[in-house]
């Protein structure tokens, strides 16, 4: 018997989380006499903030069975796929030529995708691509946990996911082994309790082969050696893209093989009416994601925006740019187009609905100042336990 678990996570922000989960699974399986290894996917390295990455735990009853997983980059038939940020369910693009990989692509038929989320399964299934085989969707209730390289937010997401894995894939690890491993590794009874609680409360739902997002995610064919130009030469990007219907304005050429939008957890929502065209969002965007419209507005192109939030930080006008969680959106259509089409609806109902919502505008995207994580955890505890 072998088992494998992949954890799909936001690079850097959830690096420790991913590692803790997969190490924890292997340590727990060890308690049952199994052998296993935990490893990050080599191609992800060096990890970048927000860019989807993966780590794996593979376990087996014998060394020989384990060999099938060794000296390989990633297992492709996982019993459990964990997504520790539900916006990853829209698909992940980890590097150039990778295309958009559905979150359930490497889940084995009949396996489970476990997502940390406050959304319902139905809402999540609008994002998850059709698999063409049956699978299960499990939810560990809660918001995405973001830390950074040096300071970790101790919100128990790691052990809660481990507990949930024990529930949906008991042949990989049993909850008793998970509890023992947690006790040994962290010597923290509260963490043990969180794992058990999560085990008790995780819910799953079967998903049909044709259920989910019907859009076909983009992919690329790798070139043959004789199709490649010699001398390590590739063509540069054209300086400009033509936009149908635009007279004036400027949309830069963009790298077609790495779009980067699947890096987003939040996207900027722009009020084109209150915008003073100060240019700062466009100028300070490290990803050149703003198109300059023929009217001189700055439209964050959703195919290119990676959700860093610098535009919101530099915008001098209150509520002109607001970062909003991806779960509130479908697709990458242009906000400026929507605004031009129907300014009334855009300004009086669509925009306020997005930017006034406390839940989807909540930002917890890494270290802000020393002590903030502790404040957030205290707040969450005061709110009556956000962790279930």
């Amino acid at each position: 018997m072998t088992g494998s678990v992949e954890v799909v996570y936001r690079g850097i922000f959830q690096k420790h989380l991913g590692q803790r989960i997969t190490r924890g699974i292997v340590l727990a399986a060890w308690k049952e006499g199994k052998v296993g290894i935990s490893f990050g996917r080599y191609g992800d390295s060096p990890e970048r903030n927000g860019i989807p990455a993966k780590s794996f735990a593979v376990v087996a009853d014998t060394e020989e069975e384990l060999q099938a997983f060794l000296a390989r980059y990633e297992p492709n038939n996982n019993d459990v796929t964990v997504a520790v940020d539900d916006t990853l369910c829209k698909g992940v693009e980890s590097w150039a030529w990778y295309g958009l990989q559905p979150i359930n692509k490497l889940t084995r038929p009949g396996g489970t995708v476990l997502v940390t989320s406050i959304q319902t399964p139905e809402e999540l299934l609008k994002d998850c691509h059709r698999k063409g085989a049956e699978w299960n969707l499990g939810i560990v209730k809660g918001t995405a946990s973001f830390s950074g390289l040096w300071v970790v937010k101790e919100d128990h997401t790691d052990v809660r996911v481990m507990g949930a894995i024990a529930k949906v894939a008991p042949h990989v690890v049993k909850i008793e082994s998970v509890e023992t491993a947690i006790r040994n590794e962290w010597k923290d009874e509260l963490k043990v309790a969180s794992a058990r609680k999560s085990y008790d409360r995780v819910t799953t739902r079967k998903v049909g082969a044709d259920e989910g997002n019907s859009e076909k995610p983009y992919e690329f064919q790798l070139l043959k050696w004789w199709e490649m130009k010699e001398g390590l030469v590739i063509p540069a990007i054209p300086v400009k893209q033509e936009v149908p219907g635009w007279d004036g304005g400027y949309r830069p050429g963009r790298n077609p093989t790495f779009k980067k939008f699947s890096t987003r957890t939040m996207r900027p929502v722009v009020n084109f009416d209150t915008c003073t065209k100060c240019t700062l969002c466009w100028l300070q965007c490290p990803d050149s994601c703003f198109d300059i419209t023929p009217t001189g507005h700055y439209d964050a192109n959703m195919e290119a925006c990676c959700g860093c939030g610098v535009c919101e930080a530099v915008c001098p006008v209150e509520d002109c740019i607001t970062m909003v969680n991806e779960q509130a959106f479908d697709g990458n259509s242009s906000q400026f187009e929507a605004y031009e089409k129907d300014k009334e609806t855009y300004l009086t109902s669509w925009l306020p609905e997005k930017i006034k919502d406390k839940v989807i505008t909540h930002r917890s995207h890494g270290f802000q100042y020393r002590g903030k994580y502790e404040e957030e955890l205290a707040e969450a505890a005061a709110d009556g336990g956000g962790d279930d």
Binding site: W95, I237, P252, N255, T257, K277, Q284, A313
Partner: protein
């Protein structure tokens, strides 16, 4: 025999007169695998935008190579070539020399072509310092060497370099039970030392992408003035410094406002501070370094004594150095007096003449 040197015509790249006059074209565009909020990527964008289309860029190994061209793709619109870590000075010289020879022999059109070689702090301040220094002694070649400094070997997952600030957490300096601060070196002043040591180099400047206009105009100046030039940018790095990416811009400003990062330029032998550093040089109060340090996870392990030490060093730099950010020493008292005296005598002589 100065007549032997043939200096190719440089162009005049006019400074942008305000943000609304900044040209729209992107010569480094979207689709790079950099962190959210990567200020080094912003530096690349602004640098390329300022330089324009008649440019070739050499990029040495580091984040701005690996992230920007991962894997077998590119975000560059202008011609770009990889070079080795530590080879930016050589790459700039080789490219400029090759173009010069070909133009002189009539094999390519005679025109000003911007040659920019960039390096990170690892490849510039550590490994490549000697090749940059050699390059800055060649007055007959026109190029800009830009060192983007995110204060670590960032691409290899954050190891300390000669430019990492005192006490910072990196994978080579993790705070542990036995030793809290493994890294007790103070950051070198690369722009300062290069300006002070290379009389043939006509332009050296420090920049900060949070002040995008000033940064781009300095790039334009460096590309217009002729000969070898050097620019050093400080780039907040969400991954290595550990902070929410939307703070990138603010931290870039704070670095200057606390006096940690002095903005200056040396142009044809005259040094000036600019931006907020100008006010600080004239005596305006600096923000406390605590404000800057405690917004970054890499300093989260600092005790008050560490923050105080850091503050003290910054105070020393502004109060006691001959030139803050440039000359890390002062003159002996009697030397000062002698110089003052001889200046006074000179002034009197001039008056009487």
């Amino acid at each position: 025999m100065a007549t032997e040197l043939t200096v190719l015509p440089t162009q005049i790249l006019q400074p942008f007169k305000g943000v609304k006059k900044v040209t729209p074209e992107e010569y480094f565009t979207s689709g790079h695998r950099t962190c959210q909020g990567c200020e080094s990527a912003l530096v690349m964008k602004l640098m390329a935008k300022a330089a324009g289309p008649r440019t070739v860029i050499l990029g040495s190994t580091g984040c701005m190579y690996v992230a920007n061209t991962t894997y077998y793709s590119t975000s560059w619109v202008v011609p770009w070539m990889h070079t080795q870590l530590g080879a930016s000075g050589s790459a700039a010289m080789g490219t400029a020399a090759g173009l010069k020879a070909l133009m002189r022999k009539g094999r390519i059109k005679q025109e000003p072509i911007n040659v920019i070689a960039f390096c990170g702090d690892g490849g510039g301040a550590d490994m490549g310092l000697s090749s940059i220094s050699a390059a800055l002694t060649y007055p007959e070649y026109n190029f800009l060497i830009l060192m983007y400094d995110n204060e670590s070997y960032a691409n290899t997952d954050i190891q300390l370099s000669g430019m990492t600030p005192y006490g910072a957490n990196t994978t080579f300096s993790p705070p542990g039970k036995a030793r809290r601060l493994l890294h007790r070196r103070w950051k070198k002043n690369v722009a300062g030392m290069l300006a002070a040591g290379h009389p043939e180099c006509r332009y050296v400047a420090t920049v900060d992408a949070s002040y995008a206009l000033e940064m781009m105009n300095r790039v334009r100046k460096a590309l217009s003035i002729g000969g070898p030039t050097f620019i050093h940018s400080l780039d907040p790095c969400p991954k290595g410094w550990d902070y929410d990416p939307f703070n990138s811009h603010d931290l870039g400003e704070l670095a200057v406002e606390t006096g940690i990062w002095p903005l200056f330029e040396v142009e044809d032998g005259i040094l000036k501070f600019y931006g907020k550093s100008k006010g600080i040089a004239q005596g305006r109060k600096r923000k406390p370094v605590r404000e800057y340090l405690l917004r970054q996870g890499r300093f989260a392990h600092f005790l008050d004594e560490d923050i105080d030490y850091f503050q003290k060093k910054i105070d020393l730099m502004w109060d006691r150095w001959l030139i803050p950010g440039v000359c890390a020493f002062d003159m002996a008292e009697d030397l000062k007096k002698a110089l003052d005296k001889s200046e006074a005598e000179l002034a009197t002589t001039e008056e009487t003449e």
